[in-house]
């Protein structure tokens, strides 16, 4: 076959053997013809002609020869690398940093934006349905959550879909009492799995009859859970798993890495009918109005997405005809088809945006790293000019030398890429924990990422070597055979200086960003929340669907009793300073109550009203909200029929209450009786950490018998987290029949809100430090080589009596000029771009002078450090040796 000839190698030894055999046969022939043996051999050799030339011709003509020269170049490159370990180390480190940063980000970006979910077939035809309904006052927001009614209408009415399914991601409690634990689950219709085209690893998915979860209760477990808790035993089929108190038979195991259409891990797949137990008994009935599930559908190949969206829009509008204010709202609803790749939705996703930005910065860092190495290679190329001139004069072609340098560069980039992968393995995990906290671990570094890294290594190796190689190769080498000196300017060419200045500029931009975000984070952390987040825990019992507990008097009474009993026991627990109960969500109340003080005009529609909260005794002491005026509730207030309230400062101000807030008579809602305000407390943070404080009104719990307790709050003497195990034990012993109880410190509720600043601070600091390292390495390299280049000139000057100080000063001046330019440019960019991030900062202006000065200071110090070694080398030049080398 023709193509195998490219790889068929005949070794030179084989050819030599053939030649030898030929000569021997000719010798024999001549000997047989009567010649004497020595003469015959001589004659045979002569007849053959020049053996060496023949061998060379064989070598040249060998079609496998390209591989041989490649190996030769590689070996030469490796030798050269070993000979200058300092340079090699720096070059590899630069590449590793640049490529590593990109590999890290690519993994995350790939998962967030590019990758289709695992085990999904035809992912481009599968869509997440979003619906946007305008409100009377606004355009509305696109949301995926819909009612079962909508799902049924789309499933039955939309002809352009091949299949339609519904799903609901949630956390369910498995087990009771002691063994209760939360499990990440997704409730889905049986059509979900068929739609995605996924096949189970073991067993099967649920059938349409099991979907409603009426007679049989089934479940499918995730692969990791199967491996972890059931040790990969195939006998798991048929065993039962407790789901919110009901045993479900396991009928199958999902394949490894399958997470449905989202990124977060899923341990349990349940039939959609389970929602009737978890959420609301009417969740899956056509009359249920709750918006809870998400619709996933597979478009038929012959339709375009927009056509299909139009069809769904019409179905949706039709469905809600007859709703109040239909013309202003549902008549203008729009259906949107979102892709299921990554986390893209019709709304731009914060994590995706951040990742893209950081990815952009990574690319920039990579470019800088390549430029750095290119610079170093250029300098090395210049010092090797003599060697190049010699090789050229011996007959090497420029192409051959270029190729050899290219291979050297690729070797460096390759080594850098390997280091990068090692670094990325662990840094990618760190980045992922920031941006994708619930995604499957280990899903970030895979084949695509490896491929990307290889491409990056190739590209950077090429760029970093080609540019300097071409510059050097174009020079005229003849004059260099003599002295081996170059005639460049004292501190490198303008291009090289500009490169260093550019790196310094990038480092300063990133460091300024880091400073701004770190300060913002500190400011945010220091916000007075009005609540002591570090000491307070909340305990939320799972007593059944919220609606049931709230509306059914018996369920409510039972729930309250449970909480109160638990409260008693908790107060006796060591380490607990205060404990209290309340209704509503942790920290943020959800109900509003109109307030009017006596004599005030009626409220204007749309004016802000305070939220209100029914609190148990000791609430304020537990939570840590301090009193501004008046007093807290006493035992006398915690009785039915009491008409007292405590307001916060914001409410007091808004309603201009008398006595600085301690108004003897305000009207709540439609109540005709006076309510006395007995105390004013500080305003606390509501939903958003940095948002406006909402107005809050507090009332004794006992005065509102129709409220259900939903929360117990506990204040610990030390760190709140230490109390969690003891509390859990207490809950289990007090109420062993309960499923998983949510016990969390307040700080955990806050943590996600701090994320943007933490993210900004970490990213900018990390990249700022990287850029700084690269810039200092580049500077060091440039200065070192320049000193070496000019050692002759320095020697002459020293011989003529130049003081050491002058030489050091020169090196420093050269470095400082580059740094000064870099800082100036960087600061200008930072000031200009400050507008872009000013909305993300807190309590600090993007033009804060302290941060800028600090950053400049850091860069100057680093520059001086980078100068030390080259400056020292300059003073160590021995004038005699330098002069003699001429």
């Amino acid at each position: 076959m023709m193509w195998t000839r490219w790889f068929r190698f005949r070794s030179p030894d084989d050819f030599a053997a053939e030649v030898e055999s030929h000569v021997a046969m000719e010798t024999e022939r001549l000997t047989r013809g009567g010649m004497n043996e020595d003469e015959a051999r001589y004659a045979a050799r002569r007849a053959f002609g020049n053996v060496t030339v023949s061998r060379e011709q064989f070598r040249e003509a060998r079609t496998g020869a390209w591989f041989d020269t490649l190996m030769q170049d590689v070996r030469y490159g490796l030798r050269a690398m070993r000979r200058s370990p300092g340079f090699t180390g720096v070059a590899i480190a630069s590449f590793a940093i640049g490529i590593g940063a990109n590999t890290t980000m690519f993994g995350t970006i790939d998962t967030l934006l590019l990758r289709a979910p695992a085990h999904v077939v035809d992912a481009d035809r599968i869509h997440h349905l979003y619906f946007q309904t305008p409100t009377p006052t606004g355009t509305g927001v696109a949301v995926p959550n819909q009612s079962y009614r909508t799902y049924a209408a789309v499933r039955d009415g939309a002809k352009s879909f091949e299949a339609v399914a519904a799903m609901w991601p949630t956390t369910v409690s498995s087990g009771r009492g002691n063994i209760a634990r939360p499990v990440d689950a997704v409730l889905a219709t049986s059509s979900f799995f068929e739609l995605l085209g996924v096949r189970p690893a073991v067993g099967r998915f649920f059938s349409p009859s099991e979907e409603r979860d009426e007679n049989e209760h089934v479940a499918v477990i995730g692969y990791e859970m199967w491996r972890g808790q059931y040790a990969g035993d195939r006998g798991v089929l048929g065993r039962a798993i407790d789901v919110a108190g009901v045993p479900h038979i396991i009928v199958g195991v999902a394949p490894l890495g399958f997470t449905g259409v989202r990124v977060n891990r899923v341990d349990l797949w349940l039939p959609i009918g389970v929602a009737t137990r978890l959420l609301d008994p009417r969740a899956t009935s056509p009359t249920g109005g709750q918006y809870w599930l998400e619709i996933v559908a597979k478009r038929r190949a012959q339709f375009r997405a927009q056509q299909v969206a139009n069809e769904v829009t019409l179905i949706y509008r039709d469905l809600y005809r007859g709703s109040p204010r239909y013309e202003a709202t549902f008549a203008k609803s729009e259906a949107l088809l979102a892709p299921i790749v990554g986390v893209r939705g019709p709304r731009s996703n914060a994590e995706a945006k951040i990742s893209t930005w950081v990815g952009g910065v990574s690319l920039l860092v990579l470019l800088i790293a390549s430029a750095n190495v290119a610079n170093l290679l250029l300098l090395r190329g210049l010092t090797r000019s003599r060697e190049v001139a010699l090789r050229l004069s011996l007959g090497a072609t420029r192409g051959r030398i270029l190729r050899q340098w290219l291979i050297e560069g690729l070797l460096l980039a390759g080594a850098g890429a390997v280091c990068a992968l090692i670094i990325a393995r662990w840094s990618a995990a760190a980045v992922q924990s920031f941006l994708l906290p619930q995604a499957l671990p280990g899903s970030v570094l895979d084949r695509r990422v490896l491929g990307f890294t290889a491409v990056m290594a190739l590209a950077t190796g090429l760029i970093a070597t080609l540019v300097p190689a071409l510059i050097v190769a174009r020079r005229n080498f003849a004059p260099l055979l003599g002295t081996g000196r170059t005639s460049s300017s004292p501190h490198g060419t303008a291009l090289q200086r500009a490169l260093i200045a550019g790196q310094v500029a990038l480092a300063s931009v990133l460091l300024i960003g880091a400073g701004l975000f770190v300060t913002s984070l500190r400011n945010v952390r220091a916000i007075d929340l009005g609540v002591d987040a570090n000491r307070v825990l909340y305990v939320q019992l799972d007593l059944g669907p919220f609606r049931t507990v709230h509306h059914d008097p018996n369920a409510r009474a039972s729930a309250n009793a449970t909480y109160l009993e638990l409260l008693e026991r908790t107060r006796r627990l060591p380490g607990v300073v205060h404990a209290s109960v309340t209704e509503g969500a942790p920290l943020a109340a959800v109900s509003a109550m109109a307030v009017r003080r006596r004599g005030a005009p009626p409220l204007v529609q749309g004016s802000p009203v305070p939220f209100w909260r029914a609190v148990g005794s000791d609430y304020f002491a537990t939570v840590g909200t301090s009193l501004v005026r008046g007093r807290f509730f006493t035992a006398a207030d915690h009785v039915a029929g009491a008409h007292v309230a405590i307001v916060d400062e914001a409410t007091a101000k808004q309603y201009e209450l008398a006595n600085g807030g301690l108004d003897p008579c305000i009207y709540l809602g439609s109540d005709r009786k006076c309510t006395e305000v007995v105390g004013v407390v500080e305003s606390t943070v509501a939903w958003q950490l940095t948002g406006d404080r909402h107005m809050v009104l507090y009332m004794p719990f006992e005065a509102w018998p129709s409220e259900a307790i939903t929360l117990m709050l506990v204040r610990s003497s030390g760190d709140a987290r230490e109390l969690i195990p003891a509390l859990r034990q207490l809950v289990v012993s007090a109420a062993p029949q309960l499923p998983w109880t949510d016990i969390r410190p307040f700080a955990e509720w806050l943590a996600p809100q701090l994320r943007p600043w933490r993210l900004g601070a970490s990213m900018f600091t990390a990249y700022g430090v990287l850029a700084l390292c690269l810039a200092s390495v580049g500077l060091y390299g440039l200065l070192s080589y320049m000193v070496i280049q000019r050692s002759h000139e320095i020697g002459v000057r020293k011989a003529l009596g130049a003081p050491d100080g002058r030489l050091i000063g020169e090196v420093l001046r050269g470095a400082m000029s580059m740094t000064a330019f870099g800082i100036a440019f960087g600061v200008a960019v930072a000031l200009g771009a400050g507008r872009l991030i000013s909305s993300q900062l807190y309590g600090i202006s993007p033009r804060d002078p302290i941060v800028i000065v600090l950053c400049a200071g850091v860069l100057i110090v680093v520059t001086i450090i980078a100068c030390l070694a080259p400056a020292r080398r300059a003073t160590k030049v021995d004038p005699i040796i330098a002069l003699r080398a001429e």
Partner: protein
């Protein structure tokens, strides 16, 4: 070494060596030394192949897959590399032989009857 004078040896045109080798191998497989002798023999001593230049030609032919080579044992019990014509080689031989014939006919026409024959 043959006793014929150097001057009388015809200079081999470029590329004809390939043709001669292919032709020789068409009659049977040989090792390199055998091919050189065969050519010398068949041409009745008029063509003396420079043994050294034989091998690059053989290498070329092998690379083009017109001949196949394998180590074997010669009649004198000596280890040698034997060359054999492939099917593609046979086709190439026919083609090159045809080219050569056309070339020599054209040259003969130019020379005219006074220089031909004789």
């Amino acid at each position: 070494m043959s006793t014929k004078g150097n001057r009388e040896r015809a200079a081999l045109l470029q590329g004809t060596l390939d043709l001669l080798i292919l032709r020789t191998l068409a009659l049977g497989s040989h090792h390199g030394h055998g091919i050189a002798l065969a050519i010398q023999h068949s041409s009745q001593g008029a063509l003396l192949v420079d043994h050294g230049s034989l091998y690059p030609a053989l290498q070329r032919l092998e690379a083009a897959s017109w001949v196949r080579a394998e180590w074997g044992v010669s009649d004198n019990n000596r280890r040698a590399r034997f060359y054999e014509l492939t099917a593609a080689g046979r086709k190439q031989l026919a083609k090159e032989a045809g080219d050569w014939r056309r070339l020599s006919e054209a040259v003969a026409l130019v020379l005219g009857p006074e220089f031909n024959g004789g």
